[in-house]
Symmetry: C2
Subunit: 216 residues, 2 copies
């Protein structure tokens, strides 16, 4: 244990090549090879400590789950949580700004954005993961029936995001302005993040939306 703790995050990541993809650009167009029986590919952008994606992978064995995380130190914490590696779940060390180098157009079926950094200052607007240049990238990499699910407890980020979505022609397919109130009779179905659990305990409202570009 001692030895492990003094290792830096990068070293740990390199040792877990069964779980972590360190060269995502090399996988462009070939992600499904990691799990050929996958019926769909779902990508979480900013997976944090991994609670959400790990639980989603357990519950949906026919889907390949990829979690993207920019910070090696955060990804290390996610790795520490993995007791048993799921065949259908991989972590990626990488930056959302590089998504179009990592994925071919239409390679992804669903995107998850959970509790993304709100970047509240106006001069940081472009850093928000729902800023327009990000949305344009998502449009490219999503399949024709693709969707995005977005959750946050930050009201102003949520308002900003809904405006951006509609400016680019996204349809709000499902929407809740108080997710945990709506789901309280059905909590079994709700997969949460570490942040989310903490915020809900504090009584914060969680906002949720699923968006798409196609009509039924």
């Amino acid at each position: 244990m001692r030895l492990r703790h003094i290792k830096n995050a990068q070293e740990v990541l390199h040792e877990r090549s069964d779980l972590v993809v360190l060269d995502p650009i090399a996988h462009q167009g070939k992600w499904r090879d990691l799990y050929p029986k996958a019926k769909a590919l779902h990508l979480e952008i900013g997976m944090g400590k991994g609670q959400f994606i790990l639980e989603m992978a357990k519950r949906n064995p026919d889907i390949l789950f990829l979690g993207l995380e920019k910070q090696a130190s955060v990804l290390k914490k996610a790795i520490d949580k993995v007791e048993k590696k799921e065949d259908n779940c991989w972590f990626i060390l990488g930056d959302a700004e590089e998504l179009l180098s990592m994925f071919l157009p239409q390679e992804v079926d669903k995107l998850y954005l959970n509790f993304s950094d709100p970047w509240p200052k106006k001069r940081h607007t472009k850093r928000r993961l729902t800023a327009s240049h990000h949305l344009e990238q998502y449009t490219v990499l999503l399949s024709s029936q693709g969707t995005i699910e977005f959750k946050t407890d930050n009201r102003h980020l949520f308002e900003f995001s809904l405006r951006m979505f509609t400016e680019q022609g996204w349809i709000l397919d499902e929407l809740s302005l108080n997710l945990h109130e709506d789901k309280q009779d059905n909590s079994e179905s709700l997969v949460t993040t570490e942040y989310e659990d903490r915020f809900v305990t504090k009584g914060n409202i969680i906002y949720y939306v699923r968006i798409k570009k196609w009509k039924e």
Copy 2:
């Protein structure tokens, strides 16, 4: 006073032809004649007791304000409130289902929907003033730079409405998921309805959105 109270609402409305339009279909295409110096025509659908539209008319003397109300008894209450008739404000007794008989295409510059009946039951969905067939009518009667402002304290109606708006290609131009919190430093600018004042006193959240179909 006694005599007045026993009069029914319809009679009162007929006596106030300086303020109430009882034959809106006859005004189709000619609304601006009521106030030729108007730079724009704004219509509130479901004006209720009139607090909002009367205050808006006072504050904006260059705009013609029309308030539509279906129920004669409610409209009578609004009339009772009018101390001095504003030159730029008229009430209309009529049904939102008939809007396209009352207005020519592009005759209206802005629509207000304030605290519309939520019609919570699924079988009553079509009665909601933001149901798709209503939105199609609004698209017709709004001018090319037209907008709709919508306020409600009913979360499920607001969620439903945002979904409907985006399904029909409306852009969320301004959005607040807690209007009175956002406006607390600037309450002077906020014109409220009777319902709204009551709900805010109770601590309810007011949702607000302004939508449009055109891009800058």
